[in-house]
Subunit: 363 residues, 4 copies
């Protein structure tokens, strides 16, 4: 059996969640999201974002959440602005377009959108022969593991206010941001700075589930109808309610994300300690070290991971993902393998001419 760093959804759920499912199993509950567990979750989230009027919906997956939110928020001729690496732009099989909306993409090396990207996009779309850009889609962290800081989010909020745009954040891995003190970013900040965002459960300990949170009152109408119409209203809504109740009752959600981050950090430091650089600076639970193709082959004997992209003739970036379920053994084995490939190299600084970005603890 190999150790897997392929993704953060290879295991089932955190044991507490399964226990909660077992514990409540024979209680009779209302269907379709009117169960007591969903109600409790909604209350926990409203408390976390400090607004009793926050609209909170429990859904099954990220693509589902994105397509329901975006198709509900936009009028037919309105479009999204996204980084070219954005999940909706690349890895959702045209789910947004299938609801009728164009995604206008902007090239981004680190997966983040800048205010200038938004302004340029607006400048290019000036009349009824082109779509009307209306919704700014960001992911935090991004698909490359990078993080929008509070200042960056505030700048985006500003520009969205100026141009009457909707700021929507895909938070499939949001836990790995809010669990890090250095970012000083809370659910309440995410709520205040976006019009709507979602909090990912699938990749942070749940069997399935994402929480859509809507702040902007003009976007709230009819959401339950849209959820049903898109086939996303579970008869046993309790399945989502129970899981998130468990994750948000006593801080389990942040605790699990911290675990994922602890492992990611050890790995980052490990690669750094042997002189490796990264495709983008490691900030969350997806890291992209650039290593020798030869080393890749060695690692593949004992570890599963994605080869992300070729960097030069001899080196490629790989993607390693940690999660709440990553074990110390797995991480240690990986560091050991690097050391074995680089005997006596511990502490060697990254070479200046090596491609990539050096790791710094404070990113």
């Amino acid at each position: 059996m190999k150790y897997s760093f392929t993704n953060d959804y290879s295991e089932g759920a955190h044991p507490n969640i399964l226990e909660a499912l077992v514990r409540s199993n024979l209680n009779q509950e209302n269907g379709y999201g009117y169960d007591t567990h969903t109600k409790n979750t909604i209350k926990y989230i409203q408390e976390a974002v400090q607004d009793k009027n926050a609209s909170v919906y429990l859904l099954s997956g990220g693509t589902q959440t994105n397509l329901i939110a975006i198709s509900s928020f936009l009028r037919p001729y309105e479009a999204c602005i996204a980084a070219h690496t954005g999940h909706i732009a690349v890895h959702e099989t045209g789910a947004i377009e299938a609801t009728g909306h164009k995604i206008y993409t902007v090239h981004s090396d680190d997966g983040k959108l800048r205010c200038s990207d938004i302004e340029n996009t607006l400048n290019m779309h000036h009349d009824e022969h082109m779509v009307a850009p209306k919704l700014v889609y960001i992911s935090n962290p991004t698909e490359l593991g990078t993080v929008y800081t509070k200042q960056e989010l505030e700048a985006l909020r500003n520009i969205c206010d100026t141009h009457d745009l909707i700021l929507y954040c895909d938070g499939a891995r949001l836990g790995t941001v809010i669990c890090q003190a250095q970012f000083d970013l809370t659910l309440s900040d995410m709520y205040r700075l976006t019009d709507a965002f979602f909090i990912g459960g699938t990749k942070n300990g749940a069997l399935l589930g994402e929480i859509l949170v809507i702040r902007n009152n003009t976007l709230k109408k009819g959401m339950q109808y849209n959820i049903k119409q898109r086939g996303a209203l579970l008869a046993k809504g309790r399945v989502l309610g129970i899981q998130f109740e468990e994750l948000f009752r006593d801080g389990l959600y942040v605790h699990l994300a911290k675990n994922a981050m602890r492992h990611a950090r050890v790995l980052s430091i490990g690669f750094h300690a042997f002189g490796y650089k990264f495709l983008v600076a490691p900030q969350t639970n997806q890291i992209f070290p650039i290593i020798e193709n030869e080393l890749i082959e060695v690692l593949q004997n004992n570890f599963d991971f994605y080869i992300w992209e070729k960097v030069n003739a001899t080196h490629s970036a790989i993607r390693l993902v940690t999660s709440w379920a990553t074990t110390d053994d797995a991480v240690t084995a990986l560091i050991d393998a690097i050391e074995k490939y680089n005997p006596d190299q511990y502490g060697a600084p990254p070479k200046d001419d090596a491609p990539g970005i050096a790791y710094t603890d404070k990113v």
Copy 2:
């Protein structure tokens, strides 16, 4: 606490299913339906329908399954034919229309479509100013709990072949049909007689999940893409795989449906024994006894159920639903309540002039 006969999704999952989730929880599995449990489920279903080439997909809910299947099967101008009581026509918030397709409905007293309905519909749609009816949507059992017999299905199959139509069956409660020897209808029959159908898990012991089975080769292409595009591809596909593996490994699926039917039958006989008739002849786990409005008020003190429709000035039909989780206590308590309201009436035959249909064991 009241006893609930409101629906068949008030509880969680059958305990065996939860145990299976716990047992397999920390095994690392591939995502997106490529896990070993999903593969096993596919194998079980292919064996049940006696075709190794059957296409089998695990999805989360009935509306989701219907909209994915139908929007994949039809070209833009093609439409569905359905009974006016059909789930897609009434209770899916326009999910099919949201994918672009019209549903042409035919009035039906018992929830079933007849061959003549299909022929009449075809006769009325003769040129490009009207949609082209292409898919016949049936539910077995229907939304009124009635059952298409094998002969009826064969007749529908015939007419669909004659007119090059797709026969698609919503099997949200299919277990309650295939578990009854009197209907002599197997998954293999359902497969042979339809182009595609689904096997409901949510209402028969699973937390969530339906199995879409496609026989017609021309309808198979690209289904995995459509599933992803509609937001229905779970990252942890194992959640569905494990549940259905449990339900179909040793016959648990049929066993649970039999339990639901045992309770439904006792209730039907109970009402009958005190002279009550039914809106439609009870055949599956939804029964619609016609009772005094006064009795309804009495029952509401201790039982939850839907009042389905007013039948005359003094009587209404109620809907009672049983499931794998219905208890003997609940059923006994209900029969007792009826007896108490009708002292010394046991064995009284239904009055000839009472509205409704008398129960017969052999329906």
Copy 3:
């Protein structure tokens, strides 16, 4: 050559319109509806509806207008209410559903919706499992040639206000209503009583073209974008502008409709004079006399028309349509043919037991 009563779009345009196209042909005009002729048309319509803020758009056809207006007015889960005979429900190949919206139909013998139909529909749609009825679609005149009176429209307006519904009117043949003094219904009334309506040109003397007029401010946003997105923005918008400028500058539109009505009235009186009844009382330029099947065969030798429906073993309703281009010769020849089939019957009153509705001049 047979005389045709098949429809009101068998000829080209009224000669004045062609002359206007020729006259203006080499003037250079802005594209996409910004030409001077379209501007003039907009001004004429705003004057006619007595509101300078009326939004006015020139489109090519009725189905196009319906689908653009309705898909722009509704949110994804909202639906239309229509008579089962409504054009959008039957004869637009699912165009509305193709934009994602369900049409809930109500049976109507005369093509008209009643207030009670709307209330019943609302009562049946009570939660997020069903679409939310939001737009009331009517046609004036209806597809059966019947007319909504001012009182009926006021009642519909009232109920729509009460329930926050959109009242939208398809006016493909609106000219034949507003040209009749007895109805006392002006474009200004249509504007005041609906949220939006369209004025048909194709069936009243134009080569092509319908005018969409929107009163409700909340429905105006982004319409030009929707028009472009649905492929309805003509590069040479002047083609529509010039035609409608001609139709509305000096009353040609009403003049042409009066001509159509003059012929329809003579035909109605003619059938009546020989004792025939009608499927629905003749009110506009579509009339549905019920005649002997034998007479139908006779007429088919010299006239083109639709056989609408079988009424009994010996009689059927036919549909006759007149237009601005109908000739006196055609009408006279038809009356002569009826007389020849019914010698010495002139002035015979309709038989009491004959199926159908007798013609009355004041309908």
Copy 4:
């Protein structure tokens, strides 16, 4: 009054077309494309493409044609590949996405797609998490006035065959290609090398109208239904039929395009003669000379045209469009203005260091 080089749709129709409309005006014709003129047009086109089985449909505009064709050709999860300058990608307000399909764009300096673009796109789309690229959209000429040669089209045909892709060509200005002997490209070539293409009428002398021609048998089914469903089936289909009958009966279509090209060529040579270069080599009736910003201001006094893009601090590219209706006077006046701005410069070769591409007669 200024001379306009803004576009090729500022005037009405060629006079012959208007005469044909007048001539046939009172003949009664079948509606919805079953008139004799449409039938004749279909015959002319089938002869031109040398295939009696070619499917031919007359539509109103380019966006309409693109959206109907593409949404009919593709299954829900299939996508288009287009140059980033492609009309469907930029100037159709998301019309294709509104039918549910993603457009994957490839950067192109000259508006053309290369085979390598297609291969790269296919390589990047490998599983069900991404759309399946299926249709290659090209425009001939492109939106930048450049032309796909026969060899280039053959190479695209080849690669599409290899990968089972649909090759679809937007021919809004196709006349300006097929009218040039140097390209040796006929309607028959366009037919043979694509699966479907359209022949633009609006920009070559018609009031409105484009002809969709489909070769690939698997793409033909149900097109008339799709046309009706998208609101594109004109009741008076004769309006399109008469115009195209006139354009294709005796070669008027090519004659008009030659006129547009004669003017474009004179302008190109004129700019060249005074030492100007171009953004892309002039090949059709859209030319993009790069001139001094100062000259732009001078020209704007007497001419209308678009400023396309800034090229450097002192120069910008402008877009000049000629048409069948461009006058010798307009062209002469423009050349005179250039000469006046550049006295004694006639015959000066373009400076080597000037930005842009020099004109060569043989492109």
